[in-house]
């Protein structure tokens, strides 16, 4: 007979505030199968857990129902408590009295009655629970890191240095991400290339890291510890083994007028190109959309000049497969283009540029070799205006959030401009200066006080061009919203940081949830920032939400440490919530009718055919069998099976029907 203990938590005031926990505990005593029921202020605290353990011992409990917060929060905690006290963890269930009851209803009898119903529902379920033990599954100790920016680089190095294999894939021809495009980095103004390129080389030379650039994830199957990743290596039209990176082809290529992505379209590149001098790998790639041979079938000059005959025009895309234990998504972010702003000219004014473009102008390896020159006529701007919050914090434009990094890099841009153009005037239109990091506020104060950048607190309503000048119409809210007009030579918009436009497709390939801005969603905003709801898939960097380099590196190491924890054991224990096809005594053997229509319902191909043979080896019956290693416990086959021959542990038919019965039979 079931001996169930009910433990109602006040959760301080969170539940106790609107639910009469004592009354719930009292009425739980009368439920069928309940032998002990009590309530306590903090069930999840140490004394709370000790209370459960004592009750289990004293009343010889066989099942436990804890009425507290969401099971997504503390189910593991209470299941561990029970197993430590000798009750199988899976004989313990949680009733969600906080998120689904006390927090969302007013204080009163109805709320307390609902809490009682929820507890009765779970007591009904526990009566039908069976003890289960976790499934052991092998772990392949290789990590897949998607995205070769600073986030992906840091994660890969941390995992590889701990002695595990890493497969790092990057969509662009070279790793480095947006950080490689930066001139100098706040708050210390040290040159971005100098601190990044050593790490990039370390990744390329690391024995444990397999670097695959110009490649994207084609598909990911399987589950934690046993993923199978298929990676599409886009054709580079180069034989990487033969190519020595001498660069002859890039100098001879006749098509020289392609706006370069690395220089944010301010400088040009050839059709066969290396994105930037310190690119890793330092080998070229042929851009098929602009290469004359691919477009019109003529030219092949690079082939003629290549000393090692490394050019392969007929090279096809290649799909490679890797078995992967865990995945880190480090795909980073994009910045909005100037064409996103009607009031600033729909992007048709050449001298209205984005922050990234200014980085390229300020960068020594940039199109202007570090001199700040206007894209339209190459003149050095005497008067420059920076616009913070261009697109961010603007619900009308569909971007409600603050992009976090623009206040800092705008102050940096103004500072760099003043260092290079001493007599120049720099204005910054801002709403608030958000510089909350270490040495950050001091940095912005330096820009204002030492470099005399003129900060105007107000928004800019319009920018238009008039005889070579950019008229910036704004307001100064600190001077009674007086209209302000600046005749600038150049304007830099600190445009919003947004997710890549293919972020949603990648999320769907990984079965990871994403929010309304297409940033990936973490498992818990405070307690699990680097994990996702999908076991074995972790997040690092700005793909989760805009963040600066220090935070990205910290988050990358966080994700790496989660993986090292996973790889520290040879076997992974997995939730025993898997489906099982029933078995019976001969001659029935199983009620499965052998139609096998369930096989096409299972997303993990976990259902196999089992031939039941007699002693003479003849097949008597062929029935379905679930492979517990592959089954992920979605239960679709259970609800599909017409003869109810498959059931799922933890959410069995009996448990679910009993829950519905207990929930509705309360009067």
């Amino acid at each position: 007979m079931a001996r169930i203990g009910v433990f109602i938590c006040h959760c301080g005031e969170n539940i106790g505030g609107t639910v009469d926990c004592n009354k719930v505990a009292k009425s739980a005593e009368s439920f069928d199968g309940v032998v002990f029921s009590t309530d306590y202020k903090y069930m999840c605290s140490d004394p709370g857990q000790t209370l459960i353990k004592q009750a289990i011992a004293e009343h010889k409990l066989t099942g436990v129902v804890v009425g507290a917060c969401s099971p997504r929060m503390h189910e593991p905690t209470f299941r561990k408590t029970c197993s430590e006290a000798g009750v199988n963890g899976y004989m313990c269930e949680m009733a969600n009295l906080r998120e689904h009851c006390s927090w969302v209803h007013e204080k009163g009898e109805a709320t307390t009655n609902k809490a009682t119903d929820l507890v009765r529902m779970l007591v009904g379920k526990v009566k039908n629970n069976k003890p289960l033990s976790p499934i052991k599954v092998p772990v392949s100790k290789t990590a897949l890191v998607i995205g070769g920016g600073i986030a992906g680089i840091q994660t890969s190095l941390d995992i590889a240095n701990a002695g595990h294999k890493v497969v790092l894939i990057e969509k662009q021809p070279s790793i480095g991400g947006h950080m490689s495009q930066l001139s100098e980095t706040f708050p210390t103004l040290d040159c971005s290339q100098c601190i990044l390129t050593p790490r990039m080389v370390e990744v390329a030379q690391h024995p444990n890291i397999e670097l695959i650039t110009y490649a994207e994830l084609e598909s990911l199957d399987g589950f934690i510890g046993n993923f199978k990743a298929r990676i599409r290596k886009k054709a580079k039209s180069i034989d990487e083994k033969l190519c020595t990176g001498c660069g002859m082809c890039t100098t001879k290529c006749p098509t020289k007028k392609i706006p370069g992505e690395f220089n944010e379209k301010l400088g040009n590149r050839t059709a066969i190109y290396v994105p930037f001098p310190q690119a890793v790998p330092n080998k070229p790639v042929i851009d098929k959309n602009n290469c004359t041979y691919y477009q019109k079938g003529k030219c092949r000059i690079c082939e003629k000049f290549c000393p090692t005959q490394a050019i392969r025009f007929d090279q096809p895309d290649e799909i490679v497969e890797r078995s992967i234990g865990a995945v880190v998504v480090a795909t980073g972010f994009e910045v909005k283009g100037t064409d996103f702003f009607p009031e600033y000219g729909y992007g048709k004014y050449a001298d209205v540029i984005t922050g990234l473009q200014f980085e390229r102008l300020a960068s020594a390896s940039g199109p202007t070799l570090g001199e700040i020159r206007r894209p339209s006529d190459g003149k050095i701007p005497e008067k420059i205006v920076f616009l913070a919050c261009a697109g961010s914090r603007d619900p009308a434009k569909g971007i409600k959030y603050c992009s976090k990094i623009c206040c800092m890099y705008t102050a940096k841009h103004a500072m760099l401009y003043k260092h290079k153009v001493h007599h120049g005037d720099a204005y910054v239109f801002y709403m608030d200066i958000r510089a909350a990091g270490k040495m950050y506020d001091e940095f912005t104060r330096r820009a204002i006080e030492e470099d005399e950048v003129k900060y105007i607190r107000g928004r800019v309503s319009r920018i238009y061009e008039k005889n070579g000048k950019l008229i910036v119409k704004g307001a100064d809210t600190l001077l009674g919203a007086m209209p302000v007009e600046v005749e600038a030579d150049m304007v830099v918009l600190a445009t919003a940081s947004v997710a890549h436009n293919d972020a949603a497709d990648l999320a769907q390939k990984l079965h990871v949830s994403y929010d309304e801005n297409n940033f990936f969603v973490e498992a818990h905003p405070k307690l699990k920032p680097v994990e996702t709801n999908t076991a074995g898939i972790f997040l690092a960097g700005a793909c989760q939400s805009p963040r600066d380099i220090p935070e990205t590196v910290a988050m990358a190491s966080g994700a790496a440490s989660k993986i090292l924890g996973l790889f520290s054991q040879n076997e992974l224990t997995r939730e025993p919530v898997v489906a099982v096809v029933n078995r019976a005594a001969p001659p029935l053997f199983s009620t499965c009718a052998g139609c096998f229509m369930c096989q096409s319902v299972c997303p993990y191909q976990a259902i196999e055919k089992e031939e039941i043979k007699n002693r003479a080896g003849e097949t008597i019956k062929t029935v379905a069998k679930v492979n517990p290693g592959l089954c992920q416990g979605c239960g679709t086959c259970v609800a599909f099976c017409r003869s109810k021959s498959i059931d799922i542990q933890g959410f069995s038919n009996e448990q679910m029907v009993e829950e519905v019965f207990a929930l509705l039979n309360n009067d």
């Binding site: 229509m597 096409s600 062929t622 003869s643 109810k644």
Partner: protein, 266 residues
């Protein structure tokens, strides 16, 4: 009739068929199933337009589990049922042959369910005029009228499960109605139990029913069971595409299209 008997005798003689399931004269003009395994009883067999039973239902019965070589007289309905049953892996250890009547009414032997599959015509099974009329009347009913209609009809159902026994697609060794942990369908033939049973039966027929009408023919109380399945087939075709009878295990409820059309999920 000569050609028919000649084929059957040859099948029995050659051992291609240990058992022949056909029809014989019943009382008056009626026909009834006949099970012949000895050559000199072949004369009893007839096959004409009066034969309506869907003999494929016997192919999955436990009684004939051990018989592998079976020949069956196949009306269009039986053919459709056999093809779908083959698709549902029910004839793994069977060697079947079929006797069908071609357009000009003489017997034709077909060996194997696959061959039978491409012998299938595309045309649908016609409903009797009475059934058509009832179906039309049913379409016009409001929700309340339909509920009242079935309350009245299903109050007669005594859950004898004849419809389940007559339906070739109902071959489960243990049916869900016999599950008592948990008790999905309440045992006594109360109206609620009857509603639950008939709703479950309809759902189990989704994408599988071959519209042969055996269930309605078998019901001792003459309940209009064919309306339920016929209307479901029409609805499925309207929203999910044509109802094709084939050997494919992929059917309506175990596959999906990413853009299945519906207008009620918010």
């Amino acid at each position: 009739m000569k050609r028919l008997h000649q084929i059957v005798s040859e099948l029995l003689a050659s051992g291609k068929a240990k058992l022949v399931i056909g029809y014989e004269k019943g009382t008056g003009e009626k026909r009834r199933p006949a099970f012949i395994s000895d050559a000199n009883e072949v004369e009893r067999l007839v096959f004409d337009s009066q034969c309506s039973h869907n003999l494929s239902v016997y192919l999955t019965k436990p009684e004939y589990k051990h018989v592998t070589e079976i020949a069956v007289f196949a009306t269009p309905q039986t053919m459709r049922a056999v093809v779908r049953l083959a698709g549902e892996n029910q004839f793994q250890d069977k060697k079947l042959s079929f006797i069908v009547m071609d357009q000009d009414q003489n017997a034709l032997l077909i060996e194997g369910a696959e061959v039978l599959a491409n012998h299938l015509g595309k045309e649908k099974i016609a409903l009797s005029s009475a059934q058509e009329e009832l179906l039309a009347k049913f379409e016009a009913m409001s929700r309340e009228e339909r509920f009242a209609y079935w309350k009245e009809q299903l109050s007669n159902c005594v859950k004898c499960y004849a419809c389940r026994a007559a339906c070739p697609m109902c071959y489960c060794t243990r049916c869900t109605v016999e599950v008592n942990q948990p008790q999905w369908i309440s045992v006594p033939s109360s109206l609620q139990g009857n509603f639950e049973y008939h709703i479950m039966r309809a759902m189990h027929m989704a994408g599988r029913c071959v519209d042969c009408g055996s269930c309605e023919a078998a019901c001792p109380l003459g309940l209009p069971l064919n309306i339920i399945t016929r209307r479901m087939i029409k609805d499925i075709e309207a929203s999910l595409g044509p109802d094709i009878v084939s050997m494919d295990t992929k059917s309506v409820l175990n596959t999906f299209q990413p853009n299945d059309k519906e207008n009620f999920i918010r």
